[in-house]
């Protein structure tokens, strides 16, 4: 058992037998009030999220979930199929992979992490940084080269991201999958 103050972002805790991943954890202490941890949790089975609060010394059951490397293969009906190195296939619904859906594109080669709970795959995580191609964006309006001025752009799968003003159609860009933010222009994947 751990206490709430030991739990960090991306740790997984068990509540009523269900695994919840910690998406945000903030410590607060004032006056005589209990020191508290405010946490945003996501149920890895249902996908539901919840804002919660704990006393810093509340006991928590942390679980380490099994993970294996997989890559996206194809979509069949409503299921997204990932394969591991031994060509085992894992099917997940759009709901299971809600957080990575904006970055799923045909032919993507990112090494993802399939997460298992009680022997069943429950979600897939992308690497922190991925590279995607801009499908459409307006031409630079101001000629800014600093990267501080941003403009909208659309990826091949329709996902919209804000990119630096100097980016153009066909450019490859790095995206932080935790925040969805543009990081920089990138080379085309090999």
């Amino acid at each position: 058992m751990k206490t709430a103050q030991d739990i960090k972002v991306n740790n997984v805790i068990l509540i009523d037998g269900a695994p919840w991943i910690v998406q945000r954890a903030e410590y607060t202490k004032s006056g005589r009030n209990s020191a508290i941890m405010k946490m945003k949790l996501k149920n890895l089975l249902s996908g539901s999220t919840s804002e919660t609060v704990y006393k810093f010394d509340d006991k928590m059951e942390q679980v380490i979930l099994d993970q294996i490397d997989v890559t996206y293969s194809y979509k069949a009906d409503d299921m997204y199929v990932f394969v591991d190195e031994e060509y085992n296939q894992y099917e997940l619904s759009a709901e299971d992979i809600e957080s990575v859906m904006p970055y799923i594109v045909d032919g993507m080669t990112d090494v993802c992490s399939a997460v298992f709970f009680e022997g069943k795959v429950i979600s897939v995580d992308l690497p922190t940084t991925i590279v995607r191609q801009i499908d459409y964006t307006e031409a630079s309006a101001r000629g800014d080269t600093s990267g501080k001025v941003m403009k909208p752009a659309r990826l091949a799968n329709g996902t919209n991201v804000k990119v630096a003003d100097f980016c153009e159609i066909g450019d490859w860009i790095e995206i932080d999958t935790r925040t969805g933010d543009y990081k920089s222009r990138a080379k085309a994947p090999a």
């Binding site: 509540i15 004032s30 005589r32 508290i36 949790l41 919660t52 609060v53 509340d58 006991k59 059951e61």
Partner: protein, 371 residues
């Protein structure tokens, strides 16, 4: 009809039991629902409520069942369980809660604060890995918090008392207000700098009567007076200042003391709230923390309280409160504070009226339980 259990661990002083005892009584009298109050220290309880027999494990007073809470107490929980101020319930009580066909609603009642983060955390769930649903409940000063303890008829009772009973009440305390004199109640923690304040009072022309119940400031006053011990019923005169040691008062009579005085010095949480319902200017001596976290809490309240206060009054109030709580020389702060007394008095009245428009803590609790 729901039944309630309130658990109170007395850390020190009278705030924890003071708040939970008021809460228990209000649930009983205003919601007409049965309440058990579990208290680990009946001797402290006896101080603020002399009818309590510290040697009785179970007793009933004003409709509330009072139980001496021991570490090994076996409890069959009620429909609603309030864990006051983060007092930890034993594993056995939590197991008993889980064993119920319908587990109770478990509420962690927190200390009062004016800090903005309170609003974000109020009523958030705290799902336990092995336990029933638990929720955090934060009292506060805004509509997005759990509100403050306020009896339904409190302000009407206050106004009636001031007209009909104030003079007799003071006489019974042994205090005869002198014409033109200001009455100040003083119930704070220790503060050696009180000597700089008392010196300033004596040097001034205003006639002041200080009403001092037994408490932690008493030794500092004795030191300033050069007396070994304040004697109840005696009057200690120094210049235009008269100090009246008065007895320790029940919650009801302490309210009456606050209503009778022109300015109240209060401390902790319970008397801090009651001073606001008095609608009179006050000074809050906040419970000090080693890491000075209390100063942030003090500032948060000042920021909220002075929002509609004119700038000179806000400045004067802030300086005097901060000087007192930082144990700094009080002479300049007091001089500024007294210059703004009229403005501070009218603001205290407006503040009290504004707070009284919000739901009380018991009303907020009842609404939460119902939903």
């Amino acid at each position: 009809m729901k039944s309630w259990d309130i658990f109170c661990q007395v850390i020190d002083n009278f705030g924890d039991i003071g708040v939970t005892w008021r809460l228990a009584r209000q649930i009983t009298t205003e919601l007409h629902q049965p309440v058990r109050l579990f208290v680990d220290d009946l001797h402290t309880f006896h101080h603020i409520c002399p009818q309590i027999d510290p040697l009785q494990d179970c007793q009933r007073l004003l409709g509330v069942d009072i139980v001496h809470w021991r570490p090994d107490s076996i409890v069959d929980p009620s429909d609603i369980v309030i864990e006051a101020f983060g007092c930890n319930l034993s594993e056995s009580i939590i197991s008993s809660m889980l064993a119920r066909a319908q587990p109770p609603i478990w509420i962690n009642l927190e200390y009062l604060s004016a800090e903005p983060w309170i609003e974000e955390c109020h009523l958030l769930p705290s799902p336990q890995c092995h336990g029933p649903a638990k929720y955090f409940f934060f009292p506060g000063f805004t509509a997005r918090t759990g509100g403050l303890l306020r009896e339904r008829d409190l302000l009407a009772e206050r106004d009636r008392f001031i007209i009909e009973e104030k003079a007799e009440f003071l006489t019974n305390l042994g205090v005869e207000p002198a014409p033109g004199s200001s009455l100040i109640s003083l119930f704070t923690y220790e503060n050696p700098q009180i000597s700089s304040w008392l010196d300033t009072l004596v040097a001034g022309e205003a006639s002041i009567q200080l009403l001092v119940p037994p408490g932690r400031i008493q030794a500092d006053i004795e030191h300033w007076l050069g007396e070994d011990k304040l004697v109840l019923g005696a009057c200690y005169s120094r210049g235009s200042v008269v100090i009246h040691p008065i007895p320790f008062l029940s919650q009801r009579d302490y309210d009456r003391l606050l209503w009778s005085c022109d300015l109240n010095f209060v401390r902790g949480e319970d008397s801090f709230v009651r001073a606001q319902w008095a609608g009179k200017p006050f000074l809050w001596h906040i419970y000090a923390q080693d890491d000075e976290a209390h100063l942030q809490k003090l500032s948060a309240f000042l920021q909220l309280y002075r929002q509609q206060l004119d700038a000179p009054s806000a400045k004067a109030m802030t300086q005097f409160w901060i000087d007192w709580n930082r144990r700094q020389d009080l002479s300049e702060g007091w001089t500024l504070f007294t210059r703004q007394r009229d403005s501070l008095e009218s603001h205290a009245h407006v503040w009290c009226s504004k707070l009284s428009m919000q739901k009380s803590l018991v009303e907020s609790l009842a609404e939460f339980i119902q939903n």
